[in-house]
């Protein structure tokens, strides 16, 4: 990599941290953390403030029909822009960084360029997408999904909140973010999202920058075993139809499967509800959740098939019914190899340690990857905590990540 004239540029760390603190005031929770559910009053306040920041930086702001907001910093030529961004909605007990960090760092990049009088060849855009979290309206990543044509606009607007009858369309109108710009795949040169890891890997391996190669595929299932409730003391083992036992054996099978597959295979049984859930009564019903993830599509499909086959077999052997409901099914996403290399090279040029890794969580970048070369940059999350008011990344780590974003955007926008 030849040294570019802008390679000595650095973001203003204090200004970045201040923006994060300022944004965190909207929906701030007592004792720390943020509650800025999508399209709530707090979200509106955060959006208004962020839009004002964009305007103050001289950016042109557009809002589309699903409420995605894009600020544009003009380039020297009228070429497809290089986009960065993330989201500023949070879960009900969220932290200051999930999503917000990527948007505020994007603004800080623009502020840095502006302060240095640097103008790029291509325009640079900073976006925040509607309802990434999915905590109030499902599915998650809604704004970016609609933008890339993965969900019809009308269906998204008609989506009801999980806790009342308000729709996305109602709430966008109410808070003033039912924008006039059309939705649809934007003509974007490339997309880079900076985000906290939300997992413990970088911290455990003592690396500063995660070079994200892709997003794991996700298979979410609910398995419902239905057997017969009976007395735990008077029912011989051979005469039981124990729904709970079937579910728990299935959970043990999943754990063994994950160990057997190795690689990037993950498996979690985080939810299990037994009925009647009493010490001396054989469970008549067990409803369990299965969360399988893999960066490779083939083993993920194979794992799903094996789990279902085992569940049906153990149920059948025990005279128990097994029903299966698919709750989510996302193929793995591979980010653009050149852009991933670019992230890694610029981190190294900044003297930062890196780790190539998949993203375990879903991000807007996986939607943008459908329409343009995309990549992500991760910074460490203390103890891997996220969706948690105790979410934390050290200030210097936040600044390192923003500098990587700055350099990658400069590289892309000056191509």
């Amino acid at each position: 990599m030849t040294t570019a004239p802008w390679s000595a540029l650095r973001v203003d760390g204090v200004r970045l941290l201040q923006r994060l603190q300022d944004l965190g005031q909207f929906g701030a929770l007592e004792g720390g953390g943020t509650n800025r559910l999508a399209l709530s009053d707090a979200d509106k306040a955060g959006r208004d403030w962020t839009v004002q920041q964009m305007r103050d930086l001289g950016m042109a702001v557009q809002v589309d029909a699903i409420g995605n907001v894009v600020g544009t910093c003009a380039g020297m030529q009228d070429l497809p822009p290089v986009m960065t961004g993330s989201h500023i909605d949070t879960v009900r007990t969220g932290g200051l960084y999930d999503g917000n960090y990527g948007v505020m760092a994007g603004l800080e990049v623009v502020a840095t360029l502006r302060a240095a009088g640097v103008r790029t060849r291509r325009p640079i855009q900073v976006a925040f997408f509607t309802n990434e979290e999915g905590a109030r309206f499902q599915p998650d990543m809604m704004g970016s999904l609609v933008m890339v044509g993965g969900m019809p606009l009308q269906a998204a607007l008609a989506t009801q909140a999980v806790d009342n009858a308000a729709t996305v369309g109602d709430e966008l109108a109410r808070i003033g973010y039912a924008g006039s710009a059309p939705v649809g795949a934007p003509v974007v040169d490339s997309f880079v999202e900076l985000h906290i890891e939300q997992g413990p890997v970088l911290e455990q391996q003592d690396r500063l920058i995660g070079v994200v190669q892709g997003v794991q595929g996700i298979c979410w299932m609910q398995l419902r075993f239905t057997g017969t409730s009976n007395h735990a003391g008077t029912t011989p083992m051979a005469l039981r139809h124990d729904a709970g036992m079937c579910a728990m054996r299935c959970a043990a099978f999943i754990h063994n499967l994950v160990v057997r597959y190795g690689g990037s295979q993950l498996g979690t049984v985080g939810g299990l509800q037994l009925k009647p859930n009493l010490i001396n009564v054989i469970a008549q019903e067990a409803v369990m959740t299965v969360d399988l993830r893999n960066t490779q599509a083939a083993p993920l499909r194979q794992a799903q098939a094996e789990v279902l086959a085992f569940a049906n077999r153990i149920a059948s052997e025990n005279g128990v019914q097994c029903e299966h409901r698919q709750l989510a099914d996302f193929e793995p996403v591979d980010f653009d190899a050149d852009l991933v290399d670019c992230v890694e090279q610029h981190a190294h040029a900044l003297g930062l340690s890196t780790l190539r890794m998949p993203s375990g969580a879903g991000h807007d970048a996986q939607m943008l990857a459908r329409v343009c070369p995309s990549a992500m940059v991760f910074v460490p999350s203390r103890q891997g905590l996220s969706h948690n008011v105790h979410e934390h990344t050290d200030p210097d780590q936040l600044v390192h990540g923003a500098n990587v974003l700055l350099q990658v955007l400069l590289h892309q926008a000056n191509r």
Copy 2:
């Protein structure tokens, strides 16, 4: 067995069934079944009616300080009496037969003897014991436990209800059953309890009379696994402290152990509570119940030790804490071999098919077995249902059981 002069005596089936129906009216539930929780108003009403039945049969009635009621039908000689009986309290959604059947059949035996003008050598007693179910006050089998000296009277009287501040002592006084007779091991010749099986074995094996050889030992434990909550997508398997996975592997281990032990070993994980119990969050806590039963003390102890060792090992391997709480621990009870033979012989003499079997549930007879030769007679339970408003035994099966009780009591009381 030589034919005794009374071997042709039979109970009046219609009268027996009528008494069961009549008693079932106290605390009757809409649509069937009975709610006669210990020392409730409904229990008082059932007790008052049953005491009147005893008096109408010419029995002397005594109530002891823990509310156990004993009706005595005098014998020709002043010898230790032969006792039968059970309980008339029920669970909140109980059936007509659990406990009640044994008491009503005892009264029917006395009514039969009275109608036939038969007087036995030894007195015959019919008892009902306080709070056998343990549904309102714990422990269960309280009245018989106190009677045989297994629990101090004062501790029993001070026991609070599970749902309010009322004590056993308060409630006995309130319903008029804080009796004047002293508690303490009664001088009883022998004890025979007739009961529904509460399990499916007799029905499955198409036998009419269960010759109960003893009561299984019971080991109840609560295992609490405490790990760390984390994101199911971003936390590598090797960095997890998954409390739910530990619990569910432990449940699978218990099932394998039971299969490996065979014999009378039973194992049930009927209760499991995960926290936070979400599809994409690794459980930070899993509280599971373990119900182990065996008719033999040694393998039951061994099973308990193996389960605890496994729980601690899986927890330790996963960086999870495991706490263990013993909730119940009853040694197996063997009934008196001669009295068990006596039950079997009289069933055969009546032309009834039999099965030697353990009792899976606890019964007052296991308490009486501490102070006198004791045994039990079981009749089938349709589908093994019990503690259930759909509890059912066919009328002719109820009558068969009462005739076995009649003959066994005559045999014992005329020795």
